[in-house]
Amino acid sequence: MADQVVNDFSVTIATVNGSGSQTANVTLLRALFKMGIPVSGKNLFPSNIQGLPTWYTIRLSKNGHLARRDEHEIVVALNPASFGRDLAAVLPGGAFFYADDIQQSVERTDIAVYPMPVKALARAADVSANLRDYIANMVYVGVLAQMLGIDLGAIQQALDFHFKGKEAPVKSNLGVVQAARDWAAENLKKSDPYMCEPMNATDGYIMSDGNTAAALGAIYGGVQFAAWYPITPASSLAESLNVYLPQLRKTANDKQTYAVLQAEDELSAIGMAVGAGWAGLRAMTSTSGPGVSLMTEYAGLAYQAEVPIVVWDVQRTGPSTGLPTRTAQGDLTQVYFLGHGDSQQVMLLPASVQECFEFGWRAFDLAERLQAPVFVMSDLDLGMNQWMTRPFEYPGQPMDRGKVLWEKDLEELNGVWARYKDLDGDGIPYRTVAGNRHPAAAYFTRGTGHDEHAQYSEDPATWEANLARMKKKYGTARTLVPKPVIDTLQGAEIGILSFGSNDPAVEEARILLNQAGGPQSDYLRLRALPCTQEVSEFIKSHARVYIVENNRDGQLRQILSAAIPDQAPRLRSACHADGLPLTAEWVRDAILAQEED
């Protein structure tokens, strides 16, 4: 047997969708996390409710690399339908656990093979018959616990969490885990090198998914109105609002300082948000690509009428319905240019669950300050997977409600004001909102041409001046959006520019590049568009900058080429989209291949 490999391998669990294995999978993930081992979990699930194959991969990385890996040292096979593939997927020297009731031959000799009496142990469990299939998943938890050395206490903590401390289910699940562990101890002989050991590398981290974080961020950002329409992978964002708002945002006398509404479609969801944003509420909607496509016309109106709204786009693989349960970063060019005519949209690009929280509140400040839609571009990987992340940080600045005039302001101005006038030289005008009872407060909002007083106008010069002011406002956005995070290394030959959920893969790839004898790299993680000064400076200071992204067309590369044409020749695309999060190996290879050219 080879040397032990500790806390540095991947486990993939192959099950049937709807079989309840998610509970077992996140229990494993959480137990490892509680052991202090850096872990990440990727759920690869089908666009179906029950019956199709589904996989869950847990990566343990003592060095803290949380990107997806393509390799699986350990595979747990519970699904007859994918059994062959799953067996083939085990790395040589790895381990294969499988339910012994699956009637298929296991003919690899280069790996350790462990049958598990899943059915038998589940039958022995102390639960009602209808829960037996569900609890059967705990068998592999127990077997893995024994064979990999996962702490039972940590498993119990994970189950406690999952079942909100309810004794009965924790007890029955833990019972199965223990029985399975005992069975494994007696019946299986370890013949693979992979082991877990406690560390303390997860201190100061929490675990959450990006959609929950986004919802919480929005709540701490004072969201007052959210309209949504169900769509994978965005639904759980709005559903988390439904979960947490009642806990966090009721007044002393039990009134709700918010409203969440499930609309009849995305056209209406964004329309409602625009109505609410116009009337002075912090308003949002959350959706994915198909929904964004349907929101196009309203996004243009919000841009043109200068209405603050926040739109979360939890991206999935497109074009079209595409792969609804797979991840991608394919909506960048669409959103950047969203709306016919000359529209320019402001976009935030969160890269971590913590940043989902941060942009959850910050997006409202930006939207209200800019009187414009703000799009937050998350993705399925970030939004729906559990990630270890730094704790959510309480907003570090007071809410910015932007330039809103209320009755007393208008009294001071003797009622003299103009809705679309640039008084401050930043392109941002003042606004009033419905409910303001000052007789000079009202104005008539429209998506058609208007002068500074919001009066209808078709005058060419008036039109052009107003649009020029809005362009100036977009310039102001450039100074307000979050700056990129830049990591420079001495002697770096190349730049890497990426964003969003690629971050762990890029961070790891920088190391892998070095290990492969490739170039030293500086790294700019973009956090918003339009891009700030720092971005062009970064590009300018590198002969070659690789734009790493999870889409086919190098969308950010295209956007940056358009935005910073002088630097465009320095940009190189490293892009690829197959529905899965990027791996560090792929990033390394994509860069190396071009370095060799």
Partner: protein, 347 residues
């Protein structure tokens, strides 16, 4: 600014008629939509509504321009074609003491806006929803809308062959709590129904037949005077809009009677005013009555259905006394300690 007023000419809100004015209309002379706008001014004045307590919504179309022509002192949002419903829905939550008044067209509501319209109704959103119904797309120069009757001929559009959408029937089917129909040329009835609609707590759908002077015409009508009868003259070249007077009913139109009204193009519609005894609180009645009217080719006017019992959309939310849009950071941002609790919860 409040206009200085002669106390003799103020309403119970202390405002003069001028406080209810809008911008000068840019619609065609004789357009039914203009009289509806005028009636809104009259009704708001007479009811003593403070204009700041109203917010106006519309989509896109000649009809949807109307809100610019009344109540300058009310906030207004002239949104997207067919999307008034969602716009208003969101705004309703900001300050529930502001009443929403929407004006849409038949194209705006029954063609492109059908989905939003139906869902607004089934949520019983508290707003007055006026459809200025002329059976055509006025602003885009005379194509069929979804309320055009079967067999209607329009230049370059041919003959409409599809079943018309009946706004009142659709409102009823969607469980509206207030459904009425009127005629732009019957100011007395229109005013009454408008008052009722504005007083209703819930969705009040008011379908107002509002003839388009310019485009709702047939082959035998003005636009087809011998010169340009030929089908091949592109419609968008017909740029001359004759100045016609608005169609008005004489005053003595009695409840329960049927009246023939001649349109600008010479065609005739049959308007039937609901009987005095008609009970508008029964949905079954309402369906039966509309079915009967359809069979007889009548346009029934009056209050067709009302139910004042149902909670409205915003009633279903337990909102604070203070308008939501006046809440500040202390109301909206949970305390720092709560986040510690949340973080602790996040495994």
């Amino acid at each position: 600014m409040t206009t200085p007023v002669n106390p003799a000419q103020v309403n119970r809100a202390g405002l003069g008629r001028a406080d209810y004015r809008g911008q000068p209309s840019t619609l065609c002379q004789g357009c039914g939509h203009n009289s509806i706008a005028n009636q809104v001014v009259n009704v708001a004045y007479e009811l003593g509504i403070v204009p700041e307590n109203i917010m106006k919504f519309s989509g896109i179309g000649c009809s949807s321009k109307s809100p610019a022509y009344f109540l300058n002192r009310s906030f207004g949002f002239n949104g997207l074609h067919g999307r008034m419903a969602s716009l208003a829905t969101g705004a309703l939550f900001a300050d529930t003491s502001v009443h929403a008044l929407g004006v849409s067209g038949d194209g705006d509501t029954a063609s492109i806006g059908m989905g939003g319209f139906k869902h607004l109704i089934r949520r019983n959103a508290p707003m007055t929803y006026i459809v200025e119904n002329n059976g055509v797309y006025g602003l885009t120069k005379g194509q069929f809308s979804a309320t055009a009757e079967v067999g209607l001929n329009l230049k370059h559009q041919g003959t409409n062959q599809y079943m018309p959408v009946d706004i009142c029937m659709e409102a009823l089917a969607a469980s509206a709590t207030f459904v009425a129909r009127s005629f732009a040329g019957d100011p007395k009835q229109l005013k009454e129904l408008l008052k009722a609609a504005l007083s209703h707590n819930g969705i009040a759908v008011l379908d107002v037949i509002s003839p388009c002077v310019t485009f709702n015409n047939q082959e035998n009508a003005f636009h087809s005077y011998s010169w340009s009868k030929d089908h091949s003259a592109p419609l968008h070249e017909i740029s001359f809009i004759p100045k016609l007077a608005e169609i008005r009913l004489e005053e003595e139109f009695e409840e329960g009677t049927v009246k023939e009204v001649t349109m600008h193009d010479g065609s005739v519609i049959l308007i039937k005013k609901l009987e005095k005894e008609y009970d508008p609180t029964s949905r079954a009645n309402a369906f039966q009555m509309i079915e009967e009217a359809t069979a007889n080719n009548w346009l029934v006017t009056g209050l067709i259905y009302i139910n004042s019992e149902k909670p409205t959309l915003t009633d279903l939310y337990h909102l604070p006394e203070t308008a939501l849009n006046r809440l500040g950071e202390s109301d909206l941002r949970p305390a720092r300690t709560t986040l510690e609790r949340i973080n602790a919860l996040m495994f």
